[in-house]
Amino acid sequence: MPGTLEEASTEEPFEPLARAALTLARRVAAGGTLFSAAPAWPWHAQHVAVEFVHPVVVGARAVDAVAVPAEDPVGWLRPLARRGDVVVLVADGADRTARRLAARAALWGVTSIWLAVGEPPPVGAAHHVVHLYPDPAASFSGRAVLGYHLLWELSQLCFEHPGLLAPGPSTDTAETACVGDHCVTCSDEGRLGEVLAVAGTTARCATERGEEPVDTGLLGPLAPGDLVLIHAGVALQVLPEEALLREESVLAGELPR
């Protein structure tokens, strides 16, 4: 029998949910597209999208929302996503595809909101993590339906406060790159980048800061999609895909050396 959210989790999800809803409303108000992805449960991604595209409440704002196919969501979203978009993930915290998608999305400038069912994802695996329910066996949906209904309802409340839809302190720095002892964006450590295009020994790379040219002369041939460690405009190392799955996530400011 399904329990309430409070019974389900030792830490209440409502404050993280509130911050996620405000971020979502801000991205949408600024013209961003909402993507939804649920690699193991495609119906949840579709439900999120229809919730925002065709609201059940008459007069509610219709939002540009797209469910990303469960098959290769990284490959689908890469050409679709633009900086300022937002992706809502509905997935178990142990879902490797969801982990990869959230980490790649950060490089594409896409804010990630992870509605986590079952295991919580590692700290920093997404910009916003809302841990809904620890035991997926107790309820087939993991109460995810309740989670994304609340996300929609709270984001609608945000639209009633247009003055607060400009970027603000609590949703644009919390839970993002500047947590941890040594923030990669503030120190001289390497930063993660995804190769977008290669021309000779220069690659255009997507990073959390934007798109930037990177000198790849130290490395062998690179291809679009490769992950590289960037320092002072130079690509130092090609990183394996598993780098996105390390416990110390790239979003938490920790990079492999």
Partner: protein, 228 residues
Amino acid sequence: MTGAEPTGFLYPFLDRAERDEAGLLAALAASGRAKAEASATITAEALAAAAPLLADAAATIAQRIRAGGRVLTIGNGGSATDAELAAASFARPPTGRSVPARALVDDPAVLTALANDIGVEAVFARQVAAAAHPSDVLVAFSTSGNSPNLLAAIAQAHRQGLYTLGMAGHDGGAMAQCAELDCCLVVRAQSVHRVQEAQDGLLDALRHAVQAALEDLAEEAAEPKGAP
């Protein structure tokens, strides 16, 4: 928002709200907590009200599955995704035996062909006519209880001998009055969201009850018969 969901607590600080991000976040968290509590209450009430019907429905469905039947699920919009979820929960449950099930909502070629050539009222009824066997079970998800294409599919399924189960909200709408519907589970709430969340709970209860009934049938079949 709707009048049924009080947001008046947001208004006392409206004058200065446009700079009060912390106030908005606190109000959002409080609203989320209140809605989750309402969801849990409505779900518990729906489960209690449905308990006798669910037990009978599960026993009937289990007998049909045992006879080679399948669970076919339908719905529109968010309820279409709930129909997909339902089929997956039967066919690929996290625990217990799996129950053959398929959703009739997830093939855009079929849906658009029927909607374009005949009309949206036919998108499920024609699939039932083409695919259903008399031992199958049709489960229809609705919040209003009034969707014409669900009612058409229920009538078609009934004509073909299927067992029909519907989930509806509010007062049950037309589904509550539908003579072709063998079992109608109504979540008596106004919010579409709270209705779907309670239906999510009803679905879990139904699936567990069907699995348990199938176990009972398997045990009965395994016992020696006719011993003196």
